[in-house]
Protein backbone atom coordinates (compact mmCIF):
# COMPACT_ATOMS: atom_id res chain seq x y z
CA UNK A 1 0.00 0.00 0.00
CA UNK A 2 2.59 2.54 -1.03
CA UNK A 3 -0.36 4.55 -2.33
CA UNK A 4 -1.90 5.07 1.09
CA UNK A 5 1.48 5.79 2.65
CA UNK A 6 1.89 8.55 0.12
CA UNK A 7 -1.35 10.36 1.08
CA UNK A 8 -1.13 9.76 4.85
CA UNK A 9 0.33 12.77 6.65
CA UNK A 10 2.91 11.85 9.27
CA UNK A 11 0.99 13.34 12.21
CA UNK A 12 -1.96 10.95 11.80
CA UNK A 13 -2.07 7.32 12.92
CA UNK A 14 -3.99 6.10 9.89
CA UNK A 15 -6.16 7.27 6.99
CA UNK A 16 -9.35 6.87 8.99
CA UNK A 17 -8.12 9.29 11.63
CA UNK A 18 -6.93 11.67 8.92
CA UNK A 19 -10.32 11.57 7.19
CA UNK A 20 -12.08 12.17 10.51
CA UNK A 21 -9.87 15.20 11.20
CA UNK A 22 -10.50 16.65 7.72
CA UNK A 23 -14.26 16.31 8.09
CA UNK A 24 -14.23 17.83 11.56
CA UNK A 25 -12.05 20.71 10.39
CA UNK A 26 -14.46 21.50 7.56
CA UNK A 27 -17.39 21.44 9.96
CA UNK A 28 -15.55 23.84 12.29
CA UNK A 29 -15.23 26.22 9.33
CA UNK A 30 -18.86 25.72 8.30
CA UNK A 31 -19.98 26.62 11.84
CA UNK A 32 -18.27 29.99 11.47
CA UNK A 33 -20.16 30.30 8.19
CA UNK A 34 -23.46 29.51 9.94
CA UNK A 35 -22.80 32.40 12.32
CA UNK A 36 -21.62 34.67 9.49
CA UNK A 37 -24.84 34.19 7.52
CA UNK A 38 -26.67 34.11 10.86
CA UNK A 39 -25.81 37.77 11.40
CA UNK A 40 -27.40 38.65 8.05
CA UNK A 41 -30.46 36.51 8.87
CA UNK A 42 -30.82 38.27 12.23
CA UNK A 43 -30.62 41.73 10.66
CA UNK A 44 -33.12 40.68 8.03
CA UNK A 45 -35.52 39.35 10.69
CA UNK A 46 -35.37 42.47 12.80
CA UNK A 47 -36.37 44.80 9.97
CA UNK A 48 -38.93 42.36 8.60
CA UNK A 49 -40.72 42.43 11.97
CA UNK A 50 -40.52 46.21 12.05
CA UNK A 51 -41.57 46.86 8.43
CA UNK A 52 -43.62 43.84 7.26
CA UNK A 53 -45.54 45.83 4.63
CA UNK A 54 -42.42 47.29 3.04
CA UNK A 55 -40.81 43.83 2.87
CA UNK A 56 -43.88 42.31 1.21
CA UNK A 57 -44.16 45.15 -1.32
CA UNK A 58 -40.48 44.86 -2.23
CA UNK A 59 -40.54 41.06 -2.33
CA UNK A 60 -43.24 41.20 -5.03
CA UNK A 61 -40.62 42.62 -7.39
CA UNK A 62 -38.57 39.42 -7.23
CA UNK A 63 -39.17 36.81 -9.93
CA UNK A 64 -40.60 33.79 -8.11
CA UNK A 65 -40.21 31.54 -11.18
CA UNK A 66 -36.50 32.26 -11.58
CA UNK A 67 -36.04 31.84 -7.82
CA UNK A 68 -37.79 28.45 -7.81
CA UNK A 69 -35.85 27.26 -10.89
CA UNK A 70 -32.61 28.26 -9.22
CA UNK A 71 -33.61 26.35 -6.09
CA UNK A 72 -34.17 23.22 -8.17
CA UNK A 73 -30.88 23.76 -10.04
CA UNK A 74 -28.98 24.03 -6.76
CA UNK A 75 -30.66 20.94 -5.30
CA UNK A 76 -29.75 19.04 -8.46
CA UNK A 77 -26.13 20.22 -8.09
CA UNK A 78 -26.14 18.87 -4.53
CA UNK A 79 -27.32 15.52 -5.88
CA UNK A 80 -24.51 15.34 -8.45
CA UNK A 81 -22.05 16.40 -5.73
CA UNK A 82 -23.26 13.66 -3.36
CA UNK A 83 -23.04 11.10 -6.18
CA UNK A 84 -19.53 12.36 -7.00
CA UNK A 85 -18.42 11.67 -3.42
CA UNK A 86 -19.97 8.22 -3.72
CA UNK A 87 -18.08 7.71 -7.00
CA UNK A 88 -14.83 8.57 -5.25
CA UNK A 89 -15.70 6.21 -2.37
CA UNK A 90 -16.22 3.38 -4.83
CA UNK A 91 -13.14 4.22 -6.89
CA UNK A 92 -14.90 5.21 -10.12
CA UNK A 93 -12.52 7.80 -11.49
CA UNK A 94 -14.31 8.94 -14.66
CA UNK A 95 -17.76 8.99 -13.07
CA UNK A 96 -16.43 11.08 -10.19
CA UNK A 97 -14.82 13.64 -12.49
CA UNK A 98 -17.93 13.76 -14.69
CA UNK A 99 -20.28 14.25 -11.76
CA UNK A 100 -18.05 16.96 -10.32
CA UNK A 101 -18.10 18.79 -13.66
CA UNK A 102 -21.91 18.42 -13.77
CA UNK A 103 -21.96 20.07 -10.35
CA UNK A 104 -19.84 22.92 -11.75
CA UNK A 105 -22.16 23.26 -14.76
CA UNK A 106 -25.26 23.45 -12.56
CA UNK A 107 -23.49 25.98 -10.33
CA UNK A 108 -22.78 28.12 -13.39
CA UNK A 109 -26.43 27.87 -14.50
CA UNK A 110 -27.43 29.13 -11.04
CA UNK A 111 -25.00 32.06 -11.29
CA UNK A 112 -26.21 32.85 -14.82
CA UNK A 113 -29.84 33.04 -13.72
CA UNK A 114 -28.77 35.15 -10.73
CA UNK A 115 -26.96 37.53 -13.10
CA UNK A 116 -30.14 37.89 -15.20
CA UNK A 117 -32.11 38.72 -12.04
CA UNK A 118 -29.50 41.24 -10.93
CA UNK A 119 -29.54 43.00 -14.30
CA UNK A 120 -33.34 43.28 -14.14
CA UNK A 121 -33.00 44.93 -10.73
CA UNK A 122 -30.48 47.42 -12.10
CA UNK A 123 -32.79 48.32 -15.00
CA UNK A 124 -35.74 48.73 -12.64
CA UNK A 125 -33.72 51.02 -10.31
CA UNK A 126 -34.21 48.61 -7.43
CA UNK A 127 -30.54 48.60 -6.37
CA UNK A 128 -30.12 50.58 -3.14
CA UNK A 129 -28.19 53.79 -3.66
CA UNK A 130 -28.59 57.17 -5.34
CA UNK A 131 -30.56 55.82 -8.32
CA UNK A 132 -32.97 53.79 -6.19
CA UNK A 133 -36.57 54.54 -6.99
CA UNK A 134 -39.49 52.49 -5.76
CA UNK A 135 -43.20 53.19 -5.89
CA UNK A 136 -44.02 52.10 -2.37
CA UNK A 137 -42.92 52.29 1.26
CA UNK A 138 -39.59 54.05 1.77
CA UNK A 139 -38.30 51.19 3.94
CA UNK A 140 -38.45 48.83 0.94
CA UNK A 141 -34.90 49.91 0.24
CA UNK A 142 -33.92 47.99 3.40
CA UNK A 143 -35.31 44.81 1.89
CA UNK A 144 -33.30 45.29 -1.28
CA UNK A 145 -30.17 46.01 0.78
CA UNK A 146 -30.61 42.64 2.50
CA UNK A 147 -31.51 40.99 -0.81
CA UNK A 148 -28.27 42.09 -2.43
CA UNK A 149 -26.12 41.52 0.67
CA UNK A 150 -27.45 38.00 1.23
CA UNK A 151 -27.68 36.78 -2.37
CA UNK A 152 -24.39 38.55 -3.14
CA UNK A 153 -22.53 36.79 -0.32
CA UNK A 154 -24.20 33.55 -1.37
CA UNK A 155 -23.12 34.06 -5.00
CA UNK A 156 -19.56 34.76 -3.85
CA UNK A 157 -19.60 31.43 -2.00
CA UNK A 158 -20.93 29.79 -5.18
CA UNK A 159 -18.07 31.26 -7.26
CA UNK A 160 -15.52 29.97 -4.73
CA UNK A 161 -17.31 26.60 -4.77
CA UNK A 162 -17.21 26.40 -8.57
CA UNK A 163 -13.44 27.02 -8.54
CA UNK A 164 -12.87 24.44 -5.77
CA UNK A 165 -14.98 21.74 -7.43
CA UNK A 166 -13.25 22.35 -10.78
CA UNK A 167 -9.84 21.81 -9.15
CA UNK A 168 -11.08 18.67 -7.37
CA UNK A 169 -12.56 17.39 -10.65
CA UNK A 170 -9.18 17.79 -12.33
CA UNK A 171 -7.43 15.89 -9.52
CA UNK A 172 -10.12 13.20 -9.64
CA UNK A 173 -9.61 12.85 -13.41
CA UNK A 174 -5.87 12.48 -12.84
CA UNK A 175 -6.61 9.58 -10.49
CA UNK A 176 -5.47 11.18 -7.27
CA UNK A 177 -8.33 9.73 -5.23
CA UNK A 178 -9.18 6.18 -4.26
CA UNK A 179 -11.57 4.37 -1.91
CA UNK A 180 -8.78 4.66 0.69
CA UNK A 181 -8.27 8.38 0.17
CA UNK A 182 -11.05 10.71 -0.97
CA UNK A 183 -11.18 13.29 1.85
CA UNK A 184 -10.78 16.32 -0.47
CA UNK A 185 -13.86 15.26 -2.46
CA UNK A 186 -15.88 14.69 0.71
CA UNK A 187 -14.79 17.98 2.29
CA UNK A 188 -15.46 20.01 -0.86
CA UNK A 189 -18.86 18.31 -0.95
CA UNK A 190 -19.58 19.50 2.60
CA UNK A 191 -18.85 23.08 1.52
CA UNK A 192 -21.04 22.78 -1.58
CA UNK A 193 -23.98 21.33 0.37
CA UNK A 194 -23.66 24.09 2.97
CA UNK A 195 -23.97 26.76 0.27
CA UNK A 196 -27.08 24.89 -0.95
CA UNK A 197 -28.53 25.02 2.58
CA UNK A 198 -28.04 28.79 2.75
CA UNK A 199 -30.07 29.15 -0.45
CA UNK A 200 -32.76 26.79 0.89
CA UNK A 201 -33.38 29.46 3.56
CA UNK A 202 -32.85 32.51 1.35
CA UNK A 203 -35.45 31.42 -1.21
CA UNK A 204 -38.53 31.49 1.07
CA UNK A 205 -37.19 34.43 3.09
CA UNK A 206 -36.68 36.68 0.06
CA UNK A 207 -39.06 35.48 -2.66
CA UNK A 208 -42.10 34.10 -0.85
CA UNK A 209 -43.23 36.95 1.42
CA UNK A 210 -46.91 37.96 1.36
CA UNK A 211 -47.68 36.30 -1.98
CA UNK A 212 -51.32 35.50 -1.23
Amino acid sequence: MSDSEHVLQHHFDDLKQQHEASTLGMWAFLITEVLFFGGLFAGYAQYRIRYPGAYAAASHHLDITLGAINTAVLIASSLTMALAVRGAQTGRRKATAGLLMSTVALGLVFLGIKAVEYSHKFHEHLVPGPSFSFDGPRESQLFFSFYFAMTGMHALHMIIGVVLVTIIAWFAWRGRYSPEYFSPVEVTGLYWHFVDIVWIFLFPMLYLIGRH
Partner: protein, 100 residues
Protein backbone atom coordinates in the same frame (compact mmCIF):
# COMPACT_ATOMS: atom_id res chain seq x y z
CA UNK B 1 -11.59 3.17 5.09
CA UNK B 2 -14.50 3.62 2.70
CA UNK B 3 -17.07 3.42 5.48
CA UNK B 4 -20.78 3.71 4.69
CA UNK B 5 -21.13 3.84 0.96
CA UNK B 6 -24.82 4.71 0.78
CA UNK B 7 -26.95 3.16 -1.96
CA UNK B 8 -27.72 5.55 -4.80
CA UNK B 9 -31.43 5.19 -4.09
CA UNK B 10 -31.01 7.17 -0.85
CA UNK B 11 -29.52 10.11 -2.75
CA UNK B 12 -32.26 10.01 -5.40
CA UNK B 13 -34.90 9.75 -2.67
CA UNK B 14 -33.56 12.78 -0.80
CA UNK B 15 -33.31 14.69 -4.09
CA UNK B 16 -36.98 13.93 -4.87
CA UNK B 17 -38.04 14.90 -1.34
CA UNK B 18 -36.19 18.23 -1.63
CA UNK B 19 -37.89 19.02 -4.95
CA UNK B 20 -41.33 18.13 -3.57
CA UNK B 21 -40.76 20.29 -0.48
CA UNK B 22 -39.66 23.18 -2.72
CA UNK B 23 -42.91 22.86 -4.69
CA UNK B 24 -44.93 22.70 -1.46
CA UNK B 25 -43.29 25.81 -0.01
CA UNK B 26 -44.05 27.77 -3.22
CA UNK B 27 -47.69 26.61 -3.29
CA UNK B 28 -48.28 27.30 0.41
CA UNK B 29 -46.91 30.82 -0.05
CA UNK B 30 -49.93 31.61 -2.23
CA UNK B 31 -52.40 30.57 0.50
CA UNK B 32 -53.38 33.08 3.15
CA UNK B 33 -52.52 31.45 6.47
CA UNK B 34 -51.96 34.70 8.31
CA UNK B 35 -48.92 34.55 10.62
CA UNK B 36 -48.66 30.81 9.92
CA UNK B 37 -47.21 31.50 6.45
CA UNK B 38 -43.84 32.36 7.97
CA UNK B 39 -43.95 29.38 10.32
CA UNK B 40 -44.69 26.95 7.48
CA UNK B 41 -42.02 28.45 5.20
CA UNK B 42 -39.32 28.24 7.88
CA UNK B 43 -40.41 24.75 8.99
CA UNK B 44 -40.14 23.42 5.42
CA UNK B 45 -36.73 25.07 5.03
CA UNK B 46 -35.54 23.47 8.30
CA UNK B 47 -36.76 20.04 7.13
CA UNK B 48 -34.94 20.47 3.78
CA UNK B 49 -31.74 21.61 5.50
CA UNK B 50 -31.93 18.67 7.91
CA UNK B 51 -32.26 16.20 5.03
CA UNK B 52 -29.22 17.73 3.30
CA UNK B 53 -27.16 17.67 6.52
CA UNK B 54 -28.08 14.13 7.55
CA UNK B 55 -27.79 12.40 4.17
CA UNK B 56 -25.94 14.50 1.57
CA UNK B 57 -23.43 15.62 4.21
CA UNK B 58 -23.36 12.15 5.82
CA UNK B 59 -23.76 13.50 9.36
CA UNK B 60 -26.17 10.68 10.20
CA UNK B 61 -23.31 8.24 9.58
CA UNK B 62 -20.53 10.38 11.08
CA UNK B 63 -18.82 10.17 14.46
CA UNK B 64 -20.38 11.49 17.65
CA UNK B 65 -17.80 14.25 17.69
CA UNK B 66 -19.06 15.49 14.31
CA UNK B 67 -22.60 15.43 15.71
CA UNK B 68 -21.48 17.60 18.63
CA UNK B 69 -19.78 20.10 16.29
CA UNK B 70 -22.82 20.42 14.01
CA UNK B 71 -25.31 20.63 16.88
CA UNK B 72 -23.21 23.23 18.72
CA UNK B 73 -22.99 25.40 15.61
CA UNK B 74 -26.72 25.51 15.00
CA UNK B 75 -27.44 25.84 18.72
CA UNK B 76 -25.33 29.02 18.80
CA UNK B 77 -27.26 30.34 15.80
CA UNK B 78 -30.53 29.61 17.63
CA UNK B 79 -29.29 31.57 20.65
CA UNK B 80 -28.68 34.54 18.34
CA UNK B 81 -32.17 34.33 16.85
CA UNK B 82 -33.99 33.53 20.12
CA UNK B 83 -32.50 36.44 22.05
CA UNK B 84 -33.05 38.82 19.14
CA UNK B 85 -36.71 37.85 18.75
CA UNK B 86 -37.19 37.83 22.52
CA UNK B 87 -36.11 41.45 22.54
CA UNK B 88 -37.92 42.75 19.47
CA UNK B 89 -41.21 40.89 19.87
CA UNK B 90 -41.58 41.81 23.56
CA UNK B 91 -41.15 45.55 22.99
CA UNK B 92 -44.37 47.34 23.65
CA UNK B 93 -45.55 44.79 26.19
CA UNK B 94 -44.55 47.19 28.93
CA UNK B 95 -44.62 50.96 28.62
CA UNK B 96 -40.99 52.00 28.74
CA UNK B 97 -40.07 55.56 27.91
CA UNK B 98 -37.93 55.90 24.80
CA UNK B 99 -39.08 52.62 23.24
CA UNK B 100 -41.21 53.04 20.19
Amino acid sequence: MSEHVLPKSIYYGIFAALLVLTAVTVLVAFLDLGPLNVVVAITIAVIKATLVILYFMHVRYSSRLTWVFVAAGFFWFLILIAFLLGDILSRGWLPVRGWA
